[in-house]
């Protein structure tokens, strides 16, 4: 893994220390896991508004007349469906259909796309895209140039006067507190919110101004701990846990982000075959049905006393107050409502397979 000396710091490192951030290693970066506490930060995002540093995420620009064809040959979703200013969730697979990364593509201009990749995968993805691109497009790794902030929660839209003009899953250029940003109405929490991509040098100013402006709405700086519990309640997969190069988008239940009618892409043969034959295992969501220790990654999942899979993500849901998680199980035991057990330190605790997302809005 990474030693402390080699961990990268975002332009907001000093801001985190100022806010009392507890710094931990994550995907090669030194990031705040929490400030005041995961439970309080989680609640702030569900009930009010929270601010996250997501500068560790990677930003690639893909540009040129063949950008669209290049992306369509590398990614599972159909990028030609994107209008200018629109966003799309998509996956990048290897030849075996395994997930190299999951990402968001924004169409900024007719032939310019912004691609957001996971922090730990930046170098791998960049190399992969350059190696696998069959047509020539300019692919630039702009990750060091850009910082990124996520403002998430039901009150997030109150901080900007352009909120009403920026639809969900769209991106626009805006001047925010004097700084030029790409502002997207996207996020990883299940709440309304924005992701701002700005020049690295502008990030501390934006961080400070957003916290100041958000004060009247009860804003809270939030760390990776809350980011993880928030996304898990929504069953948004995390690459490295729920998605790996050994699991496919279809096994993960992400078939709607795989286009089979757009032409060939890396992994499309295997995925088409898997779609026709059906998958042997599925990524399911579950909740504990009795009081238990929090379920955690790699704990065994049992059905009728037999191991049928393993947890890939698990925690105590701050919103629901019970253990929740996701994991791959044999298809025969993957149906919603199937009773299962989670083995924790040698003891078995009952759980039930749930429809995704675990957190139903209005619940």
């Amino acid at each position: 893994m990474h030693s402390a000396e080699t961990l990268k710091r975002t332009p907001l490192y000093a801001s985190h220390l100022e806010c009392g951030g507890k710094m931990v290693p994550f995907g090669g970066w030194e990031m705040p896991v929490q400030y005041s506490g995961i439970l309080a930060e989680h609640a702030a995002v569900r009930e009010r508004v929270g601010l996250f540093d997501i500068s560790h995420m990677g930003e690639f620009l893909v540009a040129g007349p063949s950008a669209e064809r290049t992306l369509n040959s590398l990614l599972t979703n159909d990028v030609t469906k994107l209008a200018i200013g629109q966003a799309q969730y998509t996956l990048m697979c290897n030849e075996g259909g395994g997930v190299v990364d999951d990402l968001i593509v924004y169409r900024l201009e007719p032939t310019v796309y912004l691609v957001i990749v996971n922090a730990g995968n930046i170098e791998k993805d960049f190399e992969w895209m350059n190696n696998k691109a069959t047509v020539s497009a300019v692919i630039e790794n702009q990750s060091d140039r850009y910082a990124a902030l996520a403002l998430q929660g039901p009150a997030a839209s109150k901080l900007f006067d352009f909120s009403a003009a920026l639809p969900h899953f769209h991106i626009q250029r805006h001047t925010v507190f004097g700084k030029e940003c790409w502002v997207a109405r996207t996020g990883y929490t299940g709440e309304d919110g924005f992701e701002l991509f700005c020049e690295a040098a502008d990030a501390p100013h934006l961080w400070r101004m957003l916290l100041a402006k958000g004060k009247e709405f009860g804003i809270q700086p939030c760390g990776l701990g809350a980011r993880d519990t928030l996304r898990l309640e929504m069953c948004y997969p995390l690459h490295g846990n729920d998605l790996t190069e050994e699991t496919t988008p279809l096994e993960a239940g992400l078939g709607k982000f795989v286009s089979f009618d757009k032409g060939a892409f890396v992994g499309s043969n295997v995925l088409a075959e898997q779609k026709a034959k059906g998958v042997d295992r599925k990524l399911v969501a579950f909740t504990m049905t009795e009081k238990s220790p929090p379920p955690r990654p790699r704990y065994p999942i049992l059905a009728n006393g037999r191991k049928v899979g393993e947890i890939t993500s698990g925690t105590q849901s701050p919103t629901l107050g019970i253990g929740v998680g996701m994991g791959y199980v044999e298809t025969a035991t993957a149906a919603v409502g199937t009773p299962i057990e989670i083995e924790i330190r040698g003891k078995k605790f009952p759980a039930i397979i749930q429809k995704k997302p675990i957190l139903k809005k209005g619940s």
Binding site: K22, I38, T229, S292, P293, P294, R296, T315, Q316, R345
Partner: protein, 126 residues
């Protein structure tokens, strides 16, 4: 950081309050801050024979499960039942309402192996 003067401490961040031949055990203020929001506590079974330095309980935060070590050898004679419904007591009141279990000591000389408040404060860099 709160390091009460009337307690003894293990390097692994448990505190001990001696009441006759009984040792009351909990985790320190420093430990609860490091663990963050505690959401589940697994106390040892009453009657369990524990050995100094061996794990005997688990405290779980949202992020992780952490082992708690017996600071002294002996038999567990009581556990704090309240922690099962109110694990947050470990964060809110680690030295009083957040006590975890009581050991009937089998070898009181082991107390000499524990840290004084000053030594523990030094140990955590406070």
């Amino acid at each position: 950081m709160n390091v009460p003067k009337n307690l003894k401490y293990a390097k692994t961040h448990e505190w001990v309050r001696v009441e006759g031949d009984i040792a009351v055990v909990g985790i320190t203020d420093h430990a609860q801050q490091e663990l963050t929001d505690v959401v589940y506590v697994e106390t040892p079974a009453i009657g369990l024979r524990v050995e100094a330095g061996k794990e005997c309980a688990v405290v779980e935060s949202v992020k992780a499960a952490s082992d708690i070590y017996a600071p002294l050898s002996g038999d567990v004679v009581a556990v704090n039942e309240e922690l099962s419904s109110a694990p947050e007591l470990l964060n809110q009141d680690p030295y009083d309402k957040g006590w975890m279990f009581k050991i009937k000591m089998s070898d009181a000389s082991e107390l000499n192996e524990l840290l004084s408040p000053d030594d523990y404060a030094h140990h955590i860099g406070a």
